[in-house]
């Protein structure tokens, strides 16, 4: 294995970790995930690929900045769950489709992407397939695959047409409407990382040895 490939592999591990971790943060808050160790890990991994985002993550590791889990739960519910109007709907179709509807064409296209990669929605996943957590996890899954042009193309496509296409609008809403520091920062970290990753994949397609 050449140096280049080693670097790519290491980078990929970090990307996989970040996509997975970020995905988990869009579920109801769990205390294991908002403890100092988990957040330090987030900061350390971010530092590898997106120093700007790492700054926010580092701030979160200071306990005072996280806040009580109860507050986070309330904020999470208001932002993403309801029961009233969602302050920041976590579904791609809301941003990508003209009439802000859930389960539109873009949702079906996301599903097609999942299917092609060999995935189906888990029977216990009770949310729409274009939920931010699902899309982040899908990227985690893809970055886990062997590195070849096809896989990178697949990732690039998904970022361009899905996650990357609505992350700006979505995180902007969160940033604006969240009441806790935690979710504001999480929105920034998500945006900065996804954007940085899009740039990275472009470059990777050029660097990747042809096999």
């Amino acid at each position: 294995m050449g140096q280049l490939e080693c670097n790519i592999r290491a980078q990929n591990e970090t990307r996989a970790n970040l996509y997975r971790l970020l995905s988990l943060y869009y579920y109801e808050p769990e205390k294991e995930l908002i403890d100092k160790r988990a957040l330090s890990f987030l900061a350390a991994e971010m530092a590898q690929v997106c120093p700007e985002g790492a700054k926010y993550a580092a701030e979160l590791t200071e306990e005072a900045n996280i806040g009580e889990i109860e507050d986070l739960r309330i904020d999470y519910a208001k932002l993403f769950v309801g029961p009233f109007d969602l302050l920041a709907p976590p579904y791609g179709s809301v941003y990508l489709e003209k009439r802000r509807r859930v389960m539109g064409e873009s949702t079906l296209d996301a599903l097609r992407c999942y299917q092609e990669a060999g995935l189906t929605m888990d029977r216990y996943f009770m949310e729409a397939p274009d939920h931010i957590a699902a899309e982040l996890e899908f990227m985690y899954y893809l970055s886990f695959q062997d590195l070849d042009n096809e896989s990178v193309e697949r990732q690039k496509y998904f970022l361009e047409h899905h996650l990357g296409a609505w992350v700006e609008d979505f995180t902007a809403l969160v940033e604006e409407r969240a009441e806790t520091n935690f979710y504001r920062h999480l929105a920034r970290i998500t945006r900065l990382f996804v954007n940085a990753d899009q740039v990275y994949l472009e470059k990777l397609l050029i660097d990747l040895p042809v096999r």
Binding site: N12, E13, T14, A16, N17, R20, L21, S23, L24, Y26, Y27, E28, E30, E32, L33, D35, R37, A38, S40, F41, F80, V81, Y114, Q115, A117, G118, L119, T120, M121, D122, R123, Y124, F125, M126, E127, H131, A133, A134, E137, F138, Y140, Y141, F144
Partner: protein
């Protein structure tokens, strides 16, 4: 939206995540599930890795299917000529052993200073460094006080890497006490072949060419030895040969046999002698192997003495002597009375056996030899092979071709200092060689171990006080007869270290517990064994990365202790390891425990894989090749190789054992007594010349027949991985593959006649009481049991070992009962063996 699988969050989320990138891991999904076709694509990294199954002492070469770093399945190693890709059901249970949640995952330290079965050790986890430091400190203390001999290394099951921990480690430290488990295994069986043909080993059996199979308590389709090979060819054997099974229990093999001879326990010798009598009277001995009367006229007639000079022997010694001293009166009629087997059946079996000779097998097993007076039964049963010329012959009993591996690491003596030299001069602590424990391994008085006696040695400070012991891969307080003595001995032992995969019964007495690597999946080692005419060497490999913080018992742990001892000022052991054990490929010296392990394995097996060394058998192209194939096969064993040069005193197959005479004489002289005196001390009845020939001894039983009316019979399960598999779900779920047994239960089987008489019914909870102990289990009335006996399988009755093995681990309540709780500490003393068979104990059954 809540996380549906919080599983991975346990402990530190960060740590869990950091490991994600590790090669071979699969993505852990929340929102998604992999679809069918892609799931298959994910199997990309499926491969079969060779290793060894030590679920019994067949020691099969096996392969494990590894999918993305996980062990998923087991199969026989197709490269093995001994088992041809087959494994018995035991091998599969190993998956539930290696992934058993009840394995010890970190070193533990006892915080309750009181020891005993009913004391909770109150273990707390500690680091490896703390554990090793404490062990080394205790060892250094012994060194400072010139008491290194008060240290014992108790070995149980092993690979041939035992040389490191059992021999070199112990001796360089300065103790003579490498004490093995061998005497609770089957040493008395080896006695039978040693004092007839000079072979202190198990035999191989030429099943594919045999025409008659006479099994003395042996159950080859279920338990030791060469189980997969036996199962594989059994249909063919039954097509071609007749099978007779001698066993008070309808065993798995008896259920597939032509004849079942449900002998009264302990009377196997009588049966063998009567068969020999029949063969001689009927004139059916082998003329080719044994010889003949000079005039060709058979003079063997019941009761009549034969003149020695009338008979000319060829490859045997002492036939006429044997006849005159013993056989002439051992008629089938006599045998019927003592064995409970009809004379007609004895005559029939003896005739059919002799008619099919020499392609016949008289197959000796622990059942017919691990008896107080079983040494002579073992000789008698094996002598039948001599009588019909099936020994070392086509379709008969065979030896093994040589496996030219190295048995020892290089010399160690230069590394023993004065303390060590003085320490190793003490006699071993297990009382071997005492007048009443001749333990004549390979004919040498005191040459063999008397495992079960070690408990008494500790309790009575006889021959001297024992202050510290390290035990690995064993569980003597469960596996040795009369367990109550081990309970007391281990409670008395001031400092005890148990190296184990599971929290076993013996662990309960430990001061320090070290978690061991699983032998089949996590360890490096090698073994040699034989079956199907091939001897082989098979490797234990690290097939998967251990999920817990374990170390390899036989090599890593001695190295790690050696490092600690060096820190504390005694560096001889570490120097020995570093200077004498080099990588045979690169010449490099080891710098850590794993390198040491690898170099030592490579060094010992080098003659097999190094293409520069020519050997008789598979030619491998190098270490990698060996690792991949996992097994080295010898050339097939040639027939009749030993005829004329057996390793006996006469070079002949001895019916009158000059070899035994020499050994007994030596032992008697050592103790200033006569051979009769020796036999008396060994609870034997014979006097005079009978001592040297297979002769009849009444079975020795503990317990008054009035108080304990039934004879107890122990046997082994086809699912027992040497008593270590009771914590596996599949063991309990399939326990009824042992004929007569029940799933998830431990049943003592009585004949329905006895049940009616005693008012016991199937399903009753009963207590079996012997003079030395009691156990509780379930009753089952079953016709496959000889009336007058109670028959129960060994393996259940664990009160530790995990949540399934024990009925209640926290309360130390066993599932069923341990046979060793009611078996007395009795011995076949000539070999040093534990005597657990032959109806050594009587019991009474109480309904509760």
């Amino acid at each position: 939206m809540k996380l549906s699988r919080r599983a991975f969050l346990k402990g530190s989320a960060a740590v869990g995540l950091a490991a994600l990138g590790v090669k071979g891991r699969r993505p852990v999904l929340q929102a998604f599930a992999e679809t069918k076709s892609e799931g298959k694509a994910m199997q990309g990294s499926t491969r079969w890795v060779s290793t060894t199954c030590q679920g019994c002492t067949t020691w099969c070469a096996v392969q494990v299917q590894v999918v993305n770093g996980r062990a998923v399945k087991v199969r026989g190693n197709p490269n093995s000529k001994a088992s041809n890709g087959k494994v018995c059901p035991r091998a599969h249970l190993s998956l539930q052993q290696v992934y058993d949640p009840d394995r010890i995952k970190v070193p533990m330290k006892r915080t309750n200073p009181r020891k005993g079965k009913d004391e909770d050790p109150q273990f707390v986890p500690i680091t490896w460094d703390e554990a090793l430091d404490e062990i080394a400190s205790k060892m250094m203390e012994l060194r400072r006080n010139n008491e290194t001999h008060k240290f014992v290394l108790f070995r149980g099951r092993y690979t041939y890497m035992r040389d490191v921990i059992y021999d070199k480690f112990t001796k360089i430290f300065g103790s003579p006490n490498g004490i093995s488990h061998s005497a609770i295994c089957a040493e008395a069986e080896k006695f039978g072949s040693y004092f007839t043909e000079g072979l202190w080993d198990y035999r191989d059996y030429d099943l594919l060419n045999t025409r008659y199979l006479l099994l003395w308590g042996a159950d080859p389709v279920a338990s030791n030895r060469q189980v997969p090979h036996s199962i594989k060819v059994w249909g063919e054997v039954m097509d071609r040969a007749k099978v007779a099974v001698i066993d008070p229990r309808l065993s798995a093999t008896a259920s597939k046999a032509d004849e079942w001879l449900p002998v009264i326990p302990g009377e196997d010798g009588a049966l063998a002698l009567a068969m020999a009598h029949v063969i001689l009277v009927e004139g059916k001995w082998s003329r080719e192997f044994v010889g003949d009367f000079k005039d060709g006229v058979n003079r063997f007639r019941a009761g009549e003495v034969v003149a020695e000079e009338d008979f000319e022997e060829k490859y045997t010694h002492g036939l006429v002597n044997w006849w005159n001293l013993e056989l002439r009166n051992r008629t089938p009629g006599w045998a019927e009375k003592v064995t409970g087997i009809p004379a007609q059946q004895i005559i029939k079996v003896a005739n059919e056996f002799a008619d099919a000779a020499p392609h016949v097998i008289s197959w000796l097993s622990p059942g017919a030899s691990m008896q107080v007076r079983g040494a002579y039964s073992a000789m008698a049963a094996h002598a039948l092979n001599g009588l019909v010329g099936s020994v070392d012959n086509k379709g008969g009993t065979l030896r093994a071709s040589k496996v030219p591996a190295r048995s020892q690491l290089p010399g160690y003596k230069d590394y023993q200092d004065e303390v060590a030299k003085a320490g190793t001069k003490y006699p071993k602590m297990d009382q071997r060689g005492y007048l009443e424990f001749p333990a004549l391994k390979k004919g040498k008085p005191g040459g063999g171990v008397v495992t079960n006696r070690a408990a008494d040695a500790i309790l009575n400070d006889d021959p001297y006080e024992i202050k510290m012991a390290i035990a690995y891969w064993n569980n003597f307080v469960f596996s040795c007869g009369e367990t109550s003595r081990w309970d007391k001995a281990l409670s008395k032992l001031p400092f005890f270290v148990h190296v184990t995969t599971h929290p076993a019964e013996m662990t309960n007495y430990a001061d320090i517990v070290l978690p061991a690597a699983d032998h089949m999946y996590e360890k490096w080692g090698w073994l040699k064994s034989k079956a199907n005419r091939y001897a082989y060497c098979t490797m234990n490999q690290r097939v998967i990365d251990p999920i817990w913080d374990v170390r390899i018992d036989e090599t890593e742990i001695p190295w790690l202790i050696a490092e600690k001892l060096a820190e504390k000022g005694f560096d001889n052991m570490l120097r020995y390891f570093k200077e004498q054990v080099r990588d045979p490929e690169t010449g490099k010296a080891p710098t850590n425990s794993m390198e040491f392990t690898m170099y030592a394995v490579k060094y010992l097996t080098q003659p097999l894989w190094d293409p520069a060394i020519e050997v008789k058998g598979d030619q491998l192209s190098g270490w990698k090749d060996f690792q991949e194939k996992g097994v080295w096969n010898s050339v097939p064993y040639p027939y009749r190789k030993k005829w004329g040069n057996f390793e006996t005193a006469t070079g002949k197959f001895e019916f009158y054992s000059e070899t035994l005479k020499k050994s007994l004489k030596k032992h008697a002289e050592k103790h200033n007594t006569t051979i009769d005196g020796v036999l008396r001390s060994c609870k034997l009845q014979a006097t005079g010349e009978l001592a040297f020939i297979p002769h009849y001894e009444e079975p020795y039983r503990v317990g008054d027949p009035e108080a304990y009316p039934l004879i107890f019979v122990d046997y082994k399960s086809r699912l027992n991985r040497e008593g270590r598999s009771a914590n596996c779900l599949w063991y309990q779920e399939m326990k009824d593959v042992d004929p007569g047994d029940e799933r998830w239960d431990d049943v003592a089987k009585l004949n329905p006649q006895d049940g009616r008489r005693l008012g016991i019914r199937t399903g009753d909870t009963i207590k079996l009481v012997s003079p030395v102990g009691a156990l509780v289990c379930t009753a089952k009335l079953w016709e496959g049991v000889r009336p007058g006996t109670v028959i129960k399988c060994y393996g259940q009755g664990h009160w530790a070992y995990g949540r399934i093995a024990a009925r209640d681990f926290q309360k130390r309540l066993p599932r069923g009962g341990n046979n060793n709780d009611i078996l007395p500490a009795e011995y076949e003393r000539l070999s040093g063996s534990t005597a657990r068979h032959g109806g050594v104990v009587r019991v009474r059954v109480e309904k509760i």
